[in-house]
């Protein structure tokens, strides 16, 4: 388990995206991201972050909302070959999805900026 509870402000993490429910930070030095969500801060490399996104996107939120069974409304997000598992309620899944969407938009935007900057400057 690589879950660490370092204060984000104290280290060299850069804000990627945040919502009221959580935040994603990037560490250039460690080449990874820290996802602060559901009471823990977890470290993800690129492969695992993609898997997390995919796992969250794959939850059929609409179907879950329409479900009338008495099962508790929790979903387990287990990411194969990564160290983290999330047990989330439907509301948290929606929040995590929002967090992932924003994160990937920001990462893509960063890619575009870097591409334009470096091609002109170097």
């Amino acid at each position: 388990m690589v879950t660490t509870l370092i204060d984000p402000q104290a280290s060299t993490w850069v804000d990627v995206f945040s919502t009221k429910q959580g935040a994603v930070y990037q560490s250039d030095a460690e080449r990874c991201w820290y996802v602060d969500f559901a009471g823990k801060v977890a470290r993800f490399d690129y492969r695992c972050l993609l898997k997390l996104k995919k796992a969250v996107y794959n939850v059929d939120i609409e179907a879950k909302l329409l479900e009338t069974s008495k099962d508790p409304d929790v979903e387990i997000i287990f990411i194969c070959a990564c160290d983290h598992t999330y047990i989330l309620t439907l509301m948290q899944i929606i929040a995590l999805k929002e967090l992932m969407e924003g994160t990937f938009v920001m990462l893509q935007l960063n890619s575009i900026l870097q591409d334009r900057l470096y091609r002109i400057a170097v």
Binding site: V14, Q26, R31, W33, Y46, N110, S111, Q114, D115
Partner: protein, 176 residues
């Protein structure tokens, strides 16, 4: 903030997805040609059967070429699921009509990826795709020529036998 995704992979997530779709299309083409080879063989068109066996093999090579490119660029190549292969054809001519349709749809799909790469200025992938564009020239040419045999020779009498005999001779050797 460093572009960590770029560090990992030369191609964007979108291009990677499109290339994986193309891997699937080539695998599908290969399976379709294999089915055509079987149909021709069962119906006594041995040369056409050989022709389609060869095509099936070529499509497999196309699939691997794309697959390895995705991996080389740092992406994730996905081994495709291929389903829904038609096993029966209504006529000898129908086989060739569908072969041409198949090639046209592949050309369209390569054009589509090319356009996306241009938009992203992913010139590296564009350069890689040039090979496929040229290949599609040949593929469409051969499929079209084969179909033309039906009109030139005609299907009456020993026509189909003649057509089958000439299918193996179709070659594309343009210098252009």
């Amino acid at each position: 903030m460093k572009d960590l995704i770029r560090v990992r992979s030369l191609i964007s997530a979108e291009v990677e997805m499109l290339l994986n779709q193309q891997v699937k299309k080539e695998a599908y083409s290969s399976a379709v040609y294999l089915s055509m080879a079987s149909w021709c063989n069962r119906n006594g068109f041995d040369n056409s059967s050989d022709y389609f066996f060869k095509q099936a093999e070529e499509e497999r090579q196309h699939q691997l070429k794309l697959y390895k490119y995705i991996l080389d660029m740092g992406g994730n190549a996905v081994s495709p699921e291929v389903t829904g292969i038609k096993q029966e054809y209504n006529s000898f001519r129908e086989v060739f009509e569908e072969a041409l349709d198949q090639e046209i749809s592949v050309t369209q799909s390569i054009k589509n990826i090319y356009a996306r790469c241009l938009k992203e200025q992913d010139f590296v992938t564009n350069e890689f795709l040039n090979w496929f564009l040229k290949e599609q020239r040949e593929e469409e040419y051969k499929a079209r020529r084969a179909l033309e045999l039906f009109d030139v020779i005609g299907e009456e009498g020993t026509g189909r036998w003649q057509i089958d005999k000439h299918v193996g001779d179709i070659k594309y050797n343009s210098e252009a």
